[in-house]
Amino acid sequence: MTTPGLRQRSAHTDEEQGRVRAVAASARGACKVYGAGETAVAALDDVTLDLPAGRFTAIMGPSGSGKSTLMHCLAGLDTLTSGQVLIGGTDLASLSDKERTILRRDRLGFVFQAFNLLPTLTAEENITLPVDLAGHAPEHEWFGTVVDTLNLRDRLRHRPSELSGGQQQRVAVARALITRPDVVFADEPTGALDRKAGVELLRFLRSVVDDLGQTVVMVTHDPGAAAYADRVVFLVDGGIVEELTEPTRERVLEIMGRLGD
């Protein structure tokens, strides 16, 4: 399903930037240190990364390599020890807690591994939660587009406990998209799903990028999942060690083997 308007928008930026895609979010010299002194752990060590708009980026790396930390910092859920995170040109460090909260609400979307939904709200209410929190009425047309893209039309009145794991994650994706965010962050979104549901969710994420023109960043350690992305960034010990565009499962496996995961 395509939305001509959105295609036009990304085409427009392409022209404006002269073949260089707009950057939705970026990290500049990002460092994150947990603890202090002897026990200090550098979870991120001088990471510089651009996330182009309208693309699907996967972040991979062995367990403990800093993937979640990077994502949390990019998403304004956590703060850096040093360095910068820019969302559409805004430096997160310059924002107060409240401003960051509002930025999350209006310009970012999230999908966590599990427990994405408020159990007391219906699927529809969960999807519109960020808009409701902002006190706006959801854009009717966009809501319909998102719901149809994720095939949730007939699940809107259900509560999370009445949905399957895959459906719950799709509701979470819809919730992340409802504000037309600059970036959607997903931290191992398929981690708690069975294979079939996982594959289905990845297809949906792909179509969110292709059909709706959204920007998605996904943390995963499943090479198969990473193959759905346009580009894969490899993280080891808090630093970026490799990048891969147009990934296939085999190439990802090969790099991971080389990196010694």
């Binding site: 909260t101 999350r104 939904l117 159990p119 709200l121 409701d132 006190g135 406990s161």
Partner: protein, 843 residues
């Protein structure tokens, strides 16, 4: 993991505190009441023993019966002074001294009466110090001349009198000036329970109290080697009929027994309030344990899976309740002792000085405190503990997200039936009237209905709030209330109990205020009503004489009162002069006529006539404490005695023949025709300058006075009930904290997707407001209906009309909502500080 368990421990510390506090308030109330009354009883015992120290035998008139001391001042018939010599002549008597007491009101330097709230103002003869026990002169010496007085050290202190000052004292017969020659203490204290005392030499006192040639009692000291009981028997053998001899110990014991009786009522009233806070507390406990069990379902299921029996699970939860109960009981006991001390200081502040003694913590108090603490907690925890045993081992494997409460149909229906039955009962009580027990029963049934239908009501409340702007926090708050409907209902019901009682009392008070106004406007025909100021004992009879001599006064009718027995039933008996009676008051004569009222006749209220089964023309036996029985004829029955609070009205001469005190409880006055009411009041007030203890009131003043005393009582009762409301608020805080902890992940998620801290706080606050409003609305509704039914039931006690104080009730509702906001402050802050990352991190 360690951090997590530490955090849980901190959480449960707070929970422990809130849970314990819920019971502790009630327990400390119970133990405080006991400690206070025991301490006071002990102090009185010591005081009486001290005062009768040195007196071996007391000789006085034998009362026909022991009337309540507050109705006749303990006055007995005075005896002939010649009897003192007769007693002194009995072998074995070392000393015998006659004494008199009477009304004596000391005026301060500005001429205002010194009248500590409620305590008597009396005068006495003082003589031989050897007979006076712990009675000591703090300063100066005893009065020996007719113009000398000694007063209690506390009064001297407070009024700033020093030896040599001129002091004015008002007696039954009028006002006189004396020189202060001594100040008196009683053992350690400076006054007798705050009473003011003026002491004179015997001859002067006899003259001042109209008891020349008479004494009220004879105090006797035995010679060395003669036992008190033996001497009592010897003296008794010489006494005429109607005069008795008692040992000093007997007198002390009788005195403290009377005080203990009076205190018994006080204790009972306080215990009722304690009971209400305990009931509220038990709801909080019940709720807490319910939540506790719900949060531990997985843990319990795991235990069951690895082989714990149901009995073990039950015992585990009950053991926890036992610990909480014991701890609360112990803490409450300690606080109660402090509370008792606090109340004593408070009483001292308002002028009631208690004799000092160490606090009396009787074994009974300790047992009661611990038992109440443990029982309330255990009983409240039984249902949750039982529920814990129903947890299936399988649940260990399921997700721990709290299950949504599914309303059982049968429960809703049962609740609805109880609610309907209870409300129908209350409405029936209102319609029929005079049904106090049915009123109480119907209220309880309705409340039971609220308990059973509570979760359904909570869901309805949630449904009512679950609309409007999508962005508003009401939806999420409403959904949370709905999700834990049972818990929300229990929380709200704790508030319901407190508010029901508060509101029922407020409605009753409003009804009483209206009734008082009605009684005055409907029953009064006089222009002015003279009354003793403040809590004074009475108005000097000289005042009525003075008024009769005035040209601007047409009718003067005195009203006197005493405790007496009518056909064997203790009652307050009033007396009025027959002349002019019908012109100053409309008693609402039902049968018979005032024409036949006079000496030998009695007017009886229709209610009492019915109780005693007597009618016009029948005889009744009136027994006076001082003189015994007389037979009187019922002249008429009346229905409007509320104005003068009368059930029986005698003619004044009959009263005077049987009661020593000549003080008037009130004087009803009609101005002469053509006298302007305001001017009349002013003139009479001016004419009574020598009687500063008399207030001259218009009918409106009387209404206002009566209403303000109702308000005062309402204030005290409401303040005591507020403790129960405070417990209910603790319950709200408790529930909120528990649900915030339970929802840490949800709150974190809300923050992650862009909920500001303020929005998170709003959700919690609105949840609190919804619960408070549920409690407030049900409490105010039930309280109003019960209060109306209660007012209708108390028609005999003077509740002739029913009034609902709508403004007050509206304020209560607003306050309840505000309380909801306040209760949410802490939990909401905690909720808004949830660490987003920790909350969303998968374990």
């Amino acid at each position: 993991m360690l951090r997590l368990s530490l955090r849980n421990l901190l959480v449960s510390k707070l929970r422990l505190f809130l849970t314990v506090a819920a019971v502790t308030v009630g327990v400390s109330f119970v133990s405080g009441t006991f400690v206070l009354s025991d301490t006071m009883a002990k102090a009185f015992d010591e005081l009486y023993v001290g005062l009768t120290n040195g007196t071996d035998v007391v000789v006085k008139s034998q009362p026909a019966f022991e009337a309540d001391i507050t109705t006749n001042g303990g006055q007995v018939r005075p005896i002939d002074e010649a009897m003192v010599d007769q007693v002194r002549a009995v072998p074995g008597v070392a000393l015998a001294r006659g004494s008199v007491t009477g009304f004596a009101l000391i005026l301060d330097k500005e001429g205002r009466p010194i009248q500590p709230g409620g305590a008597p103002t009396f005068g006495a003869s003082i003589g031989d110090a050897r007979l006076s026990g712990d009675f000591v002169y703090r300063q100066g010496l005893e009065p020996t001349r007719s113009d000398q007085v000694a007063i209690d050290a506390r009064t001297a202190d407070q009024a700033g009198f020093v030896l040599g000052d001129r002091i004015d004292v008002v007696f039954q017969s009028g006002r006189q000036t004396f020189t202060l020659v001594g100040t008196i203490g009683f053992g350690e204290t400076d006054s007798l329970l705050g009473a003011t005392m003026a002491g004179f030499d015997l001859t002067t006192a006899q003259r001042l109290f109209d008891k020349v040639g008479l004494v009220d009692e004879i105090d006797v000291q035995a010679q060395r080697g003669v036992g008190a009981e033996e001497l009592r028997d010897r003296i008794a053998a010489t006494l005429p009929d109607g005069v008795e001899a008692l040992t000093g110990d007997q007198v002390a014991a009788d005195g403290s027994a009377a005080v203990r009786d009076a205190m018994g009522i006080f204790t009972q009233v306080l215990l009722v309030f304690a009971g209400i806070s305990l009931l509220v507390g038990s709801f909080v406990i019940w709720n807490t344990f319910n939540v506790l069990v719900a949060q531990r379902r997985r843990e319990v299921a795991l235990m069951r899976a690895v082989g714990a029996t149901r009995g073990q699970v039950l015992r585990g939860v009950l053991l926890e309740a036992l610990l909480v109960g014991t701890f609360s009981g112990g803490l409450g006991l300690g606080l109660g002792v402090g509370l008792a001390a606090g109340i004593r200081s408070l009483l001292k502040l308002v002028g009631v000085e208690m004799p000092t003694t160490s606090p009396a913590v009787e074994p009974r108090t300790i047992v009661a405190a611990l038992l109440v603490g443990v029982l309330v907690t255990m009983v409240a925890a039984i249902a949750p503990a039982w529920a814990a045993t129903r947890v299936a081992p399988m649940e260990a494997l399921r997700d721990a997200v709290p299950a949504r409460y599914a309303a059982g149909w049968s429960r809703s229906v049962a609740g609805g039936v109880l609610l309907t039955a209870g409300s129908a009962g209350l409405v029936a009580c209102i319609v029929v009237g005079d049904q106090r027990w049915w009123t109480v029963l119907s209220t309880l049934v309705t409340f039971a209905g609220l308990v059973v239908a509570g979760p359904t009501l909570a869901r309805l409340t949630a449904a009512a709030a679950d609309h409007g702007r999508r962005g508003g926090g009401w939806r999420m708050a409403a959904r949370n209330v709905e999700r834990s409907a049972r818990r929300s209902a229990a929380t709200a019901l704790a508030l319901t109990i407190g508010l029901t009682v508060v509101v029922a009392v407020a409605v009753s008070a409003a009804s009483l205020r209206e009734s008082v106004a009605d009684a005055v406007s409907g029953g009064n025909r006089s222009d002015l009503i003279l009354e003793p100021a403040g809590a004074g004992l009475g108005v000097s009879p000289a005042v009525a004489d003075l008024l009769r001599d005035r040209d601007d006064v047409a009718d003067v009718v005195e009203l006197r009162e005493t405790g007496a027995r009518v056909n064997g039933h203790d009652s307050l008996v009033s007396a009025m002069n027959a002349d002019g009676l019908g012109r100053v008051i409309d008693l609402g004569i039902e049968e018979g006529s005032l024409d036949t009222f006079g000496p030998g006749a009695v007017l009886v209220s229709t209610q009492r006539a019915e109780d005693l089964g007597v009618g016009v023309g029948d005889s009744v036996t009136v027994t006076f404490p001082e003189t015994g029985s007389t037979t009187m004829r019922v002249a008429a029955t009346f229905s409007r005695g509320a104005l003068i609070n009368a059930s029986y009205v005698l003619a004044l001469p009959d009263f005077a023949a049987n009661v020593t005190s000549e003080l008037d409880a009130a004087i009803l006055v009609n101005s002469a025709p053509g006298v302007d009411p305001a001017q009349g009041k002013e003139d009479i007030t001016a004419a009574l300058a020598d009687y500063p203890n008399v207030t001259v009131n218009s009918p409106d003043d009387i209404t206002e006075k009566a209403q303000s005393s109702v308000n005062q009582l309402l204030g005290i009762v409401t303040a005591l009930l507020l403790l129960a409301v405070v417990v209910a608020v603790l319950g709200i805080v408790n529930t909120l904290v528990l649900s915030v902890v339970e929802r840490t992940r949800e709150l974190g998620l809300l923050r992650a997707v862009g909920g500001t801290r303020r929005q998170v706080r709003t959700v919690v606050r609105r949840e609190s407001v919804l619960m408070s409003l549920l409690g407030a609305v049900t409490g105010v509704a039930l309280g109003t209906v019960s209060g109306v039914a209660l007012s209708r039931a108390l028609v005999d006690e003077g509740f002739t009309t029913v009034a609902v104080p709508t403004v007050t009730l509206a304020i209560y509702l607003l306050v309840a909502a505000a309380v909801g906001v306040l209760a949410a402050i802490g939990p909401a802050r905690r909720a808004s500080r949830v660490d987003v990352l920790r909350a969303i991190a998968s374990e």
